[in-house]
Symmetry: C2
Subunit: 131 residues, 2 copies
């Protein structure tokens, strides 16, 4: 697999699709964990919304290293993996989950009283790809 | 997220689809890595083909813990995560990659002289899901 520190330009089209990104983190016993998220890409940073109530958030607070893989829904042998270290920002106005719901569903995300949302951002430090 | 040690029966339909599974492993510096694979499920074990030349194989030889997440291509908020410890079997006759290529592409996988294939199997010890 080729590797780079920047996302090759030809993957911009994949990053603009409503594809699902799978986020790998390291759990409390050093074990891998994985789950899908909606994501956004601004040309330099991949971001996703998360709640403080879930294990992946706790994993990233303890160890901010992350790997995110995205398969092209239209070309199943094409994929991109972005690795990096996350920054976490509180999102009390639910700005990012609503932006993602607009991108993926076309309407805001239903409110969930008491839920604490954060924005998790990944700046690529290592990029692997195929296709 | 609900958790279990067995895959709930309603996810059998997802596991029968030609969805892509994203495999998270732990790399040499304890960092997460993630990449998509074609997979098969026999009711008890999730399996995928891999080559010995790639980093994910080396990761799993060093630390056999794995997490595999599969998003439902038809219901984007439904997903399944299977965690477990892998077993690795040599596949000199390329049996499993050909089975997967038949499942996903409808024809055998093109030969790649010198490539050493293995079958990686995951028996779930921890299952997380949504939807």
């Amino acid at each position: 697999m080729p590797t780079a520190a920047r996302v090759p330009a030809r993957f911009e089209a994949l990053l603009a699709k409503r594809a699902v990104a799978h986020v790998a983190t390291v759990g409390p016993r050093g074990e891998p964990q994985s789950s899908p998220v909606w994501f956004g890409w601004d040309g330099e940073t991949l971001a996703f919304s998360h709640t403080k109530a879930r294990q992946k958030y706790r994993n990233l607070v303890a160890d901010p290293r992350v790997a995110v893989s995205i398969a092209d829904p239209d070309h199943p042998e094409t994929y991109l993996e972005i690795r990096g270290t996350v920054t976490i920002e509180d999102d009390p106005e639910r700005r990012y989950i609503n932006a993602m719901a607009m991108r993926y569903l076309g309407h805001p995300f239903p409110p969930n009283p008491g839920e604490e949302r954060v924005i998790i951002r990944v700046r690529p430090t290592h990029v692997t790809y195929q296709g």
